[in-house]
């Protein structure tokens, strides 16, 4: 074989591996990112969707946050203006998760058949009036 052909074989193997890793990675780790309305439509159409891990982006309903600090548990409701549902989360929430204002959150977890979303992760986007713009500043919890 000419060196060029050998190289092309090697290159093809690398390109194929990268493609395989990307495709299989997305298939196995991809998570739906839905609004509460989309989630409601999906669970209505297909009840097995309750068991699928998803992410939901929504706003926290003002005044709905109930904290049980001793159990490190937070219950709150989220909405997109049309649908709303309760979320329960055990763990430490980030600094920006506050009752003070209408904050945007991304909750990751599963929707229970009882209509309560059990979150394994809560990310809060700072929506306060001071958030003129936070360079790189963000908030994470995990």
């Amino acid at each position: 074989m000419k060196p060029r052909t050998k190289f092309l074989v090697g290159a093809t193997i690398i390109v194929a591996s990268v493609t395989f890793l990307i495709v299989s990675g997305i298939k196995e780790t991809g998570t739906y990112f839905l609004t509460p309305t989309e989630l409601a439509q999906r669970t209505e159409a297909d009840p097995t969707f309750y068991d699928v891990g998803i992410k939901v982006g929504a706003r926290v309903v003002p005044g709905s946050i109930r904290r049980d600090d001793a159990a490190r548990r937070v219950d709150f409701e989220v909405t997109d203006g049309q649908h709303r549902f309760p979320v329960t989360y055990v763990g430490l929430v980030p600094d920006t998760f506050t009752d003070a204002n209408e904050i945007e959150v991304i909750v990751e977890g599963k929707m229970g058949r009882d209509g309560v979303f059990r979150a394994t992760e809560v990310l809060a986007k700072c929506g306060s009036r001071y958030e003129a713009e936070l360079r790189d500043a963000d908030v994470k919890s995990s």
Partner: protein, 679 residues
């Protein structure tokens, strides 16, 4: 001052446009006066932008809260150092910072480039001027840092507490310097294409600039990791967030270029690939700004979503199409001067290294854009997170690490099997011994074992390279070992600086493996209560709460929770973590409370304590306590990498050969030297 700043922006804008129009019109080919004018515009532009920068700084330092930007990012009680660095705390100031530095870089490029490349310089000025003009235009038409408010607030809103951190003061400018530095090689690439200077000579003009911008990107990324680690309180330093990915992408393609350009210098191959990599790197640096500013991708990083993002999208598309069209027009003239002779050659190793780097970049880009792509194609947003990026990039990263060790062991053009055996013996043994020792110590995680075996292999390679070179000098010139190694490095700084960078990279890899053994516990402690955590090394750490205290500091009210730490029953110190409520000069609360993480670091592991708030106003408090192994080594890897990079680009050393690439006789000389050593 805002009037002056505004005026300077307009002057800068027209100067940049002038440089771009005259430069690209090509009229200067026949009119030397126009050529000189284009080049001089780079200086005028730099002067105008410095005036604009000083005007904004003046507004910040004098607390002129009538300026919207000053009111939005500073307050009267903000420490002066942060007032100064608030320059790049917001989008508008960042754009100005970018334009100023680019203008200065454009001027430096004119000043420092050898006369040999004089025929390229008007085009270089046209590109740097045009790009600067674009940045000025975004300010003038969308995000003007000199905008005044209709009223004067008594105090500003203050700087976000998470940005009040020394790491954050230098992290953004370092990253910007990297992004901006890429513009200069891009300008030369476009100039070479326009001028049909398609040999390899012009590559020498950008050698330092490519290493410089790569170095700034590396420092910026590492400082970003450090900032995320000490400030964000989620216990890690890299989360594969779109904003982080955006900074990694140009770094990956630039790293690929730094390797593949050597093939062009030595063998005259890969001209098309190298030009494509430069253009891609530049586009990725603009792309990064676009995705972070436009809000098209959901990131937990909260940037202002503004129309500026779409300025960048249009610019990205226009520059991308124009650059690749130009490249396409010159395609036939970019024939390689030689061909790949053997798979067992350094060229082949570098080619594979390039493929892997670009593969990693592609997967990161794909994963970052996947929410948008899936919504377009399938109508539903699907996101991928750290599990995806780790799954794809751990195997690719390890392959890259292996190539890091293999590349330097193989000669240019081709290597004989006997030579291969001789070269690989020591490094392979080093890797094998590493694996056996760690296996005997009880390490079982397969990925970690592979990573550490490869790290041993790479270290073996670098050590062998230094040793052989030094030994050759000791024999030939009778130098001592110390003098030999100093002269060896000094004679070929780029090569040995590069090896040092490889050591930095392998230290990063080793440090990354530590996170596989991270331990986290969330506990609730009253004063006097204890929590016990077993470290991955088998130590038992005991944390005893010493209670929560409250006090006021310069611009904040602090609640500090303190834990006493015992390691295997012996007290080793206390760790304090704080909640800070920032206030303005009237005592009004600004921002939400922020957490200050408590970290105790040593060479083996970090103790990482987050005070997550008190319960019902008592001293009973929630804590998240993590033990993060090997984190110290991430920062150590960064320092080694920077030292290597600085060494590689240090001025002086061996002069470049005028023809631009070493002749084949010289390449053969290396092989002879290796052969002579064997005998």
């Amino acid at each position: 001052m805002t009037l002056l700043g505004q005026f300077a922006l307009w002057i800068g804008f027209f100067t940049g446009v002038w440089a771009a129009v005259v430069g690209f019109s090509g009229r200067w080919h026949t009119q030397p006066g126009l050529a000189a004018s284009t080049v001089r515009s780079a200086y005028a532009l730099a002067a105008a932008m410095v005036v604009a920068a000083l005007a904004l700084w003046k507004g910040l330092i004098s607390h002129d809260f009538n300026i919207e930007y000053v009111a939005a990012y500073t307050s009267a009680n903000l420490p002066t150092a942060y007032v100064f660095t608030a320059f790049w705390a917001g989008q508008k100031g960042s754009l100005l910072f970018w334009a100023v530095v680019l203008a200065l870089f454009g001027m430096l490029a004119q000043l420092t480039t050898s006369r040999r490349h004089q025929d390229l310089m008007p085009y270089v000025a046209a590109v740097t001027g045009g790009v600067t003009a674009f940045f000025i235009a975004t300010m003038l038409f969308s995000a003007n840092p000199f905008e005044r408010l209709p009223f004067t607030p008594p105090d500003g809103r203050g700087l976000n507490p998470q940005l009040q951190n020394p790491g954050m003061v230098i992290h953004p400018p370092m990253l910007y310097l990297g992004y901006i530095g890429i513009t200069v090689p891009f300008a030369f690439a476009i100039a070479a294409l326009m001028r049909r200077r398609l040999d390899t000579g012009w590559i020498h003009a950008i050698r330092k600039w490519t290493i410089l911008s790569w170095l700034f990107l590396s420092v910026g990324i590492t400082l970003g990791m450090w900032w995320a680690y000490v400030e964000l309180g989620w216990g890690g330093y890299w989360a594969w967030d779109p904003v982080e990915n955006a900074s990694l992408l140009p770094w990956l393609t630039m790293t690929a270029f730094l390797h593949s350009v050597m093939i062009q210098e030595k063998r005259g191959m890969l001209k098309r690939w190298n030009l494509s990599l430069i253009v891609a790197t530049f586009l990725l640096s603009i792309f990064g700004t676009f995705i972070t500013r436009s809000g098209v991708i959901a990131s937990v990083h909260s940037f202002t979503q503004s129309s500026v993002g779409y300025f960048f999208l249009v610019f990205l598309l226009a520059v991308g199409i124009a650059s690749f069209a130009l490249l396409y027009l010159r395609w036939p003239a970019l024939e390689p001067e030689s061909n790949l002779e053997s798979l067992a050659s350094r060229e082949a190793a570098f080619l594979f290294n390039n493929l892997v780097l670009v593969g990693i970049a592609f997967s990161v880009l794909w994963g970052t854009l996947f929410p948008i792509l899936s919504e377009w194609v399938r109508g539903v947003k699907v996101t991928v997170g750290p599990p995806f990026f780790n799954r794809v990039n751990i195997p690719l990263g390890l392959l890259l690490l292996a190539l890091t060790g293999i590349g330097p062991l193989i000669a240019w053009r081709k290597t004989s099997p006997a030579n291969l055996r001789r070269q690989f013996l020591v490094p392979s043994a080093a890797g094998l011994v590493t694996g056996l020792v760690l296996g005997a110590l009880g390490l079982r995680d397969p990925w970690v074992l592979v990573a550490l075996v490869l790290a041993g292999f790479v270290l073996g390679t670098v050590a062998q390279e230094f040793w052989r070179g030094t030994r050759a000098r000791m024999r030939m010139y009778g130098e001592s070992a110390l003098l030999g190694v100093v002269r060896l490095v000094n004679r070929n700084r780029r090569r040995y600086g590069g090896y040092l960078v490889h050591v930095g990279i392998l230290v990063y890899f080793v440090a990354f493996t530590g996170m596989a053994f991270k331990v986290t516990r969330e506990v609730t402690l009253s004063p006097g209560e204890t929590a016990t955590i077993e470290s991955p090394y088998g130590h038992t750490y005991t944390f005893t709460s010493l209670g929560v205290s409250q006090y006021a500091a310069l611009n904040r009210i602090v609640s500090a929770a303190t834990l006493e730490v015992q390691k295997d029953g012996t007290k080793i110190g206390v760790i304090k973590s704080e909640k800070r409520q920032h206030v303005d000069s009237f005592g009004q609360k600004t921002f939400e409370p922020s957490t200050e993480v408590g970290i105790r670091s040593d060479l083996r592991e970090d103790l990482y304590v987050v005070y997550a708030g008190s319960i019902g106003g008592t001293e009973r408090a929630n804590f998240a306590i993590s033990i993060n192994p090997l984190v110290w080594w991430v920062w150590a890897g960064g320092v080694i990498l920077v030292m290597g990079g600085l060494l590689a680009m240090w001025p002086g050393g061996r002069a470049a050969t005028p023809t631009g690439r070493r002749t084949e006789a010289q390449a053969g000389f290396e092989t002879q030297l290796v052969g002579a050593e064997a005998g």
